[in-house]
Symmetry: C2
Subunit: 631 residues, 2 copies
């Protein structure tokens, strides 16, 4: 049992893949943490924009949250349809590829990839930020905490989506249970008290109105609140994680996530009005989040409050898990189309696309280190990526249904209507968000997306060129059947070179043992050349002659520059000239070490020689390794 086995679990066979799939109960924590977590910071972000309105914001909060919930509903319906239409490889990338062509699909891919990376950095950073603001002693450890959580999520996902889903289900369901219960109690008291319940602990009073409500301010509040929607598309990207019946499990997961998120959003808007809740300035001392004010108002600061806040903290910290489910799967699809390195398409020992997981961990970790664990400035960026993705997939689905209508001569009207509504609303939302957030950093996305697309296109061009170079233009043909000249790198006679020589003699009658002179440097005691020759004649040549076998030649070549490859390559050139068309094989005896430290004692001469020969090899040179195991 190695450390790797302990950490990541044993290697799984292809046949075990089916058993690794998940149902909706594990699907909600695996893919929904981002969506559920954003129920806390979405409304908070909208209310923060509305702080200048003072108490007037209470009358308007419904007008901001309602379109967000409506948008969520439209997205829910349209992603249901995406899942039905593309039940194996869902998501915006496939929808765009199938319906809008390669270029649109790359826009979706780039937006998704950037969004997932940002979501990991921002999600963890926001979670740790909430943690350190409630336990200030931890503030000095912000970055280590961020990286620690990143590593835990990465390891869980390297074990498998299933393991991650099960591991994170406790905080997820605890969060849902406690906040839905708090909302129910709060709403009941509101209704019971005729709309003005008595808070257990009163929230801080709202400030006076510093300015009046303008459409621009409400639009900005809407744009900020839309961050609550990110992560909704994750289910469509992760469809292949579900067990049969795939569509049903995916639908249930999507329903559970969207329903919870919708209830939380609507509920918060309602109780904010009833309990007179507003956002507080985060930079002021004594800051409390809207959800904290709400929980305290409903049940006071007792055990229920602390359980609810702790589960909220956990959900925020773990919201990055959604990216770890979606990102590797998106990259897998993109890599299958040769737009990303092929490694992204490979299932590893745990049947996970581990290259994607590791890439996500490293880039998000890099962002966290770069921003020292505080990534507030990245938040405006990632709603744009999400809505760009939404728009592309909605437009793709419109194309999809219209094609189906043409093929079937009609029908699909309801589906087309839903996706058209989705397309219109998401495009409008995208324009609003981009306009509202452009100076805050949204311009970065407008650079990052084309840049990512350029990289994807460049990778694709590289692969296409390599494929062209590798494609044979004729049928297989053999122009030479003579055995090759075989050279053996021969330092001295030992059991390693004996084996190499013995093998050489089975390959060809034409074997040369090559010994290089003065490899160590000019000051070494003169090598005992006569003894080397004598020993070869006595112990190698003579017994072979007696057995009636052809004797390999021993060739001594000066190595004035103490490099092996130079003289050997010149010898190969000479042989090529003497026997044109015939191949040359160079056998390198190589000590295979058992422990890493043995490499320090044996040097890397065999490996270096091999690398140099391969680098400079002509088309007829083969490099043979004759292994000898050290004990």
């Amino acid at each position: 049992m190695t450390i790797r086995d302990l950490l990541l679990g044993r290697r799984l066979s292809n046949r075990e893949g089916e058993g690794r799939k998940i149902g909706w109960i594990a699907g909600v924590p695996a893919m929904g943490l981002d969506g559920l977590g954003s129920s806390s910071y979405g409304p908070e972000a909208a209310l923060t924009v509305m702080i200048p309105l003072g108490a007037a914001s209470l009358g308007l909060v419904g007008w901001v949250i309602a379109p967000i919930v409506a948008l969520l509903g439209i997205l829910y319906l349209s992603y249901r349809q995406v899942i039905v239409a593309y039940p194996s490889n869902g998501g915006a990338y496939t929808v765009a590829k199938e319906n809008l062509g390669a270029h649109a699909s790359l826009v979706a891919a780039a937006a998704l990839m950037i969004d997932y990376v940002l979501n990991v950095a921002v999600g963890i950073s926001a979670g740790v930020g909430a943690l350190t603001s409630s336990v200030p002693a931890l503030h000095a450890y912000t970055l280590p905490l961020c990286l620690g959580i990143l590593v835990v999520i990465a390891i869980a996902n390297l074990r498998g989506t299933r393991e991650a889903g099960l591991l994170f289900s406790v905080p997820t369901y605890l969060f849902l249970l406690s906040f839905l219960a708090l909302l129910a109690v709060g709403l009941f008291r509101m209704v019971a008290s005729g709309g003005a319940p008595e808070p257990v602990i009163a929230p801080p009073p709202l400030g006076p109105a510093a300015e009046g409500a303008t459409l621009w301010l409400l639009m900005r509040a809407f744009a900020s609140g839309c961050t609550a929607m990110t992560g909704v598309e994750a289910v469509s990207n992760g469809v292949n994680a579900f067990r049969e019946p795939v569509v049903r499990e995916a639908h249930r997961t999507l329903t559970a996530i969207c329903l919870s998120l919708g209830l939380l959003l609507a509920g918060i808007a309602a109780v904010a009005h009833g309990y007179q809740l507003g956002a507080m300035d985060q930079t002021e001392p004594g800051y409390q989040s809207v959800l904290s004010q709400f929980a305290a108002a409903v049940v006071g600061r007792g055990p229920v409050y602390y359980v609810a806040m702790a589960s909220l903290l956990a959900v925020l910290c773990l919201s990055a898990n959604t990216s770890f489910v979606g990102f590797p799967r998106v990259c897998h699809m993109v890599a299958l189309d040769d737009y990303l390195p092929r490694g992204f398409a490979r299932s590893d020992r745990r049947l996970v696309f581990s290259v994607g997981v590791l890439f996500l961990t490293l880039t998000a970790g890099g962002l966290l280190v770069l921003f020292d664990g505080i990534t507030d400035r990245l938040i405006p960026l990632f709603a744009i990526g999400a809505f760009l993705t939404f728009s592309v997939s909605q437009i793709g689905m419109i194309a999809h249904w219209r094609r189906r209508q043409r093929e079937a001569g009609g029908g699909h009207k309801r589906a087309l209507a839903i996706n058209t509504a989705g397309a219109v609303t998401t495009v409008v939302a995208l324009v609003v968000i981009t306009a509202a957030k452009f100076v805050e950093g949204a311009w970065i996305v407008t650079l990052a997306v084309p840049l990512t697309i350029a990289v994807l296109l460049w990778v694709n061009r590289y692969y296409r060129r390599q494929n062209r170079l590798l494609t044979p233009r004729t049928d297989f043909c053999v122009d030479e059947t003579e055995p090759p000249t075989v050279l053996v790198a021969y330092e001295e006679r030992n059991r390693m070179t004996d084996r190499a020589l013995r093998f050489a003699m089975t390959l060809s009658p034409d074997v040369v043992a090559v010994h290089l002179l003065r490899l160590e440097g000019p000051d070494e005691a003169a090598e005992d050349l006569p003894e080397l020759r004598d020993q070869f004649a006595r112990e190698v040549a003579e017994p072979l002659t007696r057995a009636g076998l052809k004797v390999p030649r021993l060739m001594l070549i000066p190595a004035p520059y103490r490099e092996i490859q130079g003289p050997l390559l010149r010898l190969v050139e000479k042989i090529d000239a003497d026997t044109p068309g015939r191949s040359v094989a160079i056998i390198i005896p190589e000590l295979v070490t058992k422990h890493w430290w043995q490499a320090l004692l044996h040097g890397r001469r065999a490996a270096q020689l091999r690398a140099a020969l391969l680098e400079h090899a002509g088309p007829r040179l083969m490099v043979v390794t004759s292994p000898w195991k050290s004990r």
Copy 2:
């Protein structure tokens, strides 16, 4: 021209080795910087011990410095003899090995190696300490300055001892010139004024006597002053750096170093008395070194003062160069005897033992980082190493002359007397130093030396075991002349696999193309197996049959765990069982990339497969790489 060429110079041939040798003019800066630099901190250290004596120290300083100068004279004479006796590989290690046996030689080797490492760290740190105490603004950059100087010295020595000697000759000779001139002027004024010259700038007055002189205090002062002697053995270790006549150049270098050092020591003792100089407490503000007080007293703080102090600073900072000449050469000799990894014995592209240079750079750099650039606490350690080395070589030389006497029936009396005197004095000095410095840290050396010896012995045991395993017990014999079964790793038909297949057919009539199924994971679209088979039959088998050649078999093997090596190794086992005695060769087509980033796009599957096959290979498996160059 690569960056490496620019930094280190072009590759040199063995034949150029002779032209790379140096004479005494370059030898003094190359090997003498440690000795010359210690002329400043040796007397300073002795006088620091004598601070409590106040003005009474002036009468006693001669009694401390005189035995040090006498000891230097004895060491000088005996090392002259060492050089004559061992003109190719001098030094304590060889002397001990030839005359006292392997164990004594390992004591010398360990002491030398530790001493050289400590000297680098301490020398650079002391130089930078002196620099930052004169330019306090640099104090914050202590560690970067230390590491920067270390890198400069390392690069100079990687270019060659010759380059380092020439590069550092300017500060060395400037230092000698200015301080010998200052001493001459100072002594002349002393004599002219009848022993009490008028200082240009008076040194701070000496404090009152806090305690009386005891033998123990004088012994401690002597022990501290002995740090001046380290580095004297470097010439004997570096003999092979000199051009012909080697002995003459080495003698001249040794003479120049010892004479300068002796003059400086004696001169400083004399002027200290005349000008009433004493050490100051380094931790007090306004601290001035003895040499700074002296220079100011003789010429005031004018240009001459600043040139002299600047050259002193440079010499201190560069004193580590002595180690860079000695350490790699000692390691080279030790490695030739199989007590250190063989890499230490190899001349690199510049005919330098670069493994030793790099090892020294890394360990000394590690110490500097560990102690944050301030290594005062290591200073007591390294006089012990030096005197341990001196003692071993002196005792070895006694054994040497006595053997020569036995062989020649007498003679060598003067030589024997010199080395006996050397042995007695250095052993006494060693005992005094160890006793005086034991609690200050000398105990660390008494642990480090045995530990180093243990490592050297362990390395030797490892090599002896490997040699035993590799030594053939019988003459070369061949039990099998049949060509091997050749397996070709065959992913799909392309020009890379074509080449591998073509090569396989020249090696053996028994060729199998092995294709592994479901390597990428369970979710991939089913591979088009009929098409794979058809293509092989149509494009490979048919043309070969037409040409009357034997057709390779195509074998499809499932790879349920997505590893290539497992199924391949099982196939090899089966073939071994079917055809006992015959070898198996596996040909792996490998894309040889031109740029490092291509590896990211192509993955490392070929390299991983090769490594796994080598690791698990039986004695009859050979791994063949068929290179294909990407463009």
